[in-house]
């Protein structure tokens, strides 16, 4: 005989209620667990997705953040540029992992109605903001002057492969195709990539930069970093956050909704435990009286009841964790249906730390739920409870 065994046997005496209470806790834990997993998983996959996208912030000359894009498409010339001083200032901001200059322009040949979008890049840097890029062939060096990398669609249209040559009539220069990008599914497929200096040279814009692609170390600091960037006089900042603003808001409100539901589930679960313990103790007044009559002290009673609650809470916690492990995918598909923007990767990541948190939560709830009823039980006089039946 020990207290644990006694507590356990007491629980067995009220099998159905014990089982129901455990289910209540398990569901609360399941929900909590799913939330924690979702929290981690969602943040991780969104972060990774944004990382795959590469560029977190784009610094462009003041006055034309979005127009720049459309100008290029429609054959205009971007009127404003950044320069190396700006780049230097940007690079010095804390939290920036990489700031790489881009020179963006286009060659328009009227007679053929052909627009070739030219991207001047530093490949060794630019590939870091384009982690998804796969290249057939090889990247050129910064100082190459007759090397080019082409997007997949360009290669297809122009029937060009690695080792072929491409001629830009208006530039009057032949470039050797060093590499062809594998299909990205994005706009990169339609671009010609030249070494930065060469691109600047052919458009006679030496030292000019159209934009600076910025990758930051910690995406959560994107707000602070954009603020600092905006302090640089010449530049205007386009952050992914701005673009994703709507998405994040929508996700935010969906998450608030989920949070509320979870919170309610947790409160209900917790109240359920408290209620069960209260009812149990009311029913067990006599038994507690007997315990006291045969020598149990107040502390023994408290201990016994808390122990019983703990057993329920721990079993419920474990069950809840197992449930979330098994049911995570189910919830995932549900959440995917509800949430406005779901990254491709798993939203729910099973983490053992979460098991710890979930069980710790159920234990804390259990103890809190038990403490008041148990003190009330302990304060019963043995006689009072025995006398009741007379």
């Amino acid at each position: 005989m020990n207290f644990f065994k006694l507590a356990f046997k007491n629980l067995l005496r009220r099998k159905i209620r014990t089982i129901l209470t455990i289910q209540g806790i398990a569901i609360a834990i399941f929900v909590l667990f799913s939330l924690l997993s979702f929290q981690n998983g969602y943040k991780n996959s969104l972060t990774r997705e944004m990382n795959d996208l590469g560029i977190n912030i784009l610094a462009v000359p003041k006055g034309c953040p979005y127009e720049a894009a459309s100008l290029i498409v429609h054959g205009g010339v971007i009127p404003k540029y950044l320069d190396e001083v700006d780049l230097k200032q940007i690079s010095q901001i804390d939290g920036i992992e990489l700031a790489t200059p881009i020179f963006l322009s286009q060659i328009y040949e009227k007679d053929q109605e052909r627009t070739s979008i030219i991207y001047g890049i530093i490949p060794q840097e630019y590939t870091k903001v384009k982690p998804g890029w796969k290249l057939n062939g090889q990247y050129f060096n910064i100082d190459d002057t007759a090397a080019i990398i082409i997007g997949n669609e360009v290669a297809y249209q122009e029937k060009l492969g690695v080792g072929d040559e491409v001629y830009f009539p208006s530039v009057g220069k032949i470039y050797k195709v060093f590499g062809v990008l594998e299909r990205t599914g994005g706009q990169d497929d339609g671009f010609y990539f030249l070494p930065l200096a060469e691109a600047q040279r052919i458009f006679d814009k030496i030292g000019k930069i159209t934009a600076v692609a910025i990758k930051i170390k910690d995406l959560t600091k994107i707000g602070d970093i954009s603020k600092k960037l905006e302090e640089i006089p010449d530049i205007q900042v386009v952050t992914m956050a701005q673009v994703l603003g709507t998405i994040l808001n929508l996700v935010g409100s969906a998450r608030t909704l989920i949070f509320s539901v979870v919170l309610i589930a947790l409160i209900i679960g917790t109240l359920g435990i408290v209620n069960t313990m209260f009812v149990t103790i009311y029913e067990r007044r006599r038994e507690i009286g007997i315990f006291k009559a045969i020598g149990a002290g107040n502390f023994d009673v408290v201990k016994l009841i808390i122990l019983e609650t703990l057993i329920i809470a721990i079993i419920g916690g474990i069950e809840g964790s197992v449930l979330s492990f098994a049911g995570g995918r189910l919830v995932e598909s549900f959440v995917r249906g509800v949430i406005p923007y779901a990254p491709k990767r798993m939203l729910f990541t099973f983490q053992f730390a979460n098991v710890g948190i979930a069980i710790a939560y159920s234990v804390i709830i259990g103890v809190l739920a038990a403490i008041f009823p148990s003190i009330k039980a302990a304060s019963l006089s043995p006689l009072e409870t025995i006398r009741k039946e007379e």
């Binding site: 996208l53 462009v60 894009a69 498409v73 109605e113 979008i117 706009q187 994703l244 709507t246 998405i247």
Partner: protein, 194 residues
């Protein structure tokens, strides 16, 4: 998906629509049609695909495989009012410095020897190229050599553009292919129907 699409736009990088199907399209019909058929009043586009035996036939006549993306051919039927007066076919071929897009105008006349209509090149032009010798390749001095050629013609008498021999060969190949495609997918089908 839409959101994701926006996301790409937002990453600044401009979304460009590539509306290229497998076929090479006729880019400047309004401008070209006058060059090719001075009497034309309009045109209709007909998309033709080939059957397996037709493909085999095309490839054996051509002596080369069709490109993977050449699953269909656009036949631009040229009209003068309601009368069909010709056909325009286009083809994109790998040149020396990128693709060369050839536009061929075909006409037909009755051949008393074979007692059938003979399809011949009425005119041709290059709508796009990246050639260093673009000017020479687009010159009438070069292109006029193709006028009158039929699917049975020999092309070895064509004077190559010096410095763009590879591209010249590519254009010849392109023209031959279009003539063969016309023969198999158009002329022979009409015959069979009769």
């Amino acid at each position: 998906m839409k959101i994701k699409y926006k996301l790409y736009i937002g990453s600044l990088l401009l979304a460009i629509n590539f509306l290229f199907a497998g076929v090479c399209i006729w880019r400047f019909p309004d401008k070209d049609i006058q060059t090719l058929f001075s009497k034309a009043t309009g045109y209709k586009t007909e998309v033709l695909t080939y059957s397996k035996p037709e493909r085999v036939k095309i490839e054996s006549l051509l002596g080369a495989k069709l490109d993977d993306d050449e699953t269909q051919f656009n036949f631009y039927r040229i009209y003068k009012d309601t009368t069909k007066i010709g056909l325009v076919l286009t083809h994109s071929v790998k040149g020396q410095y990128g693709a060369i897009e050839v536009v061929v105008g075909l006409g037909s006349k009755f051949d008393s020897a074979t007692k059938s209509n003979k399809v011949f090149i009425k005119n041709l032009l290059i709508q796009r190229d990246r050639e260093v010798k673009s000017k020479d390749l687009r010159s009438s001095k070069f292109l006029d050599q193709f006028i009158g050629k039929t699917v049975k013609s020999k092309f070895d008498n064509i004077t190559l553009v010096s410095g763009a021999e590879k591209s010249t060969q590519a254009i010849i190949f392109s023209v031959r292919k279009l003539l063969i495609v016309q023969k198999v997918l158009d002329q022979e089908r009409v015959k069979q129907n009769k």
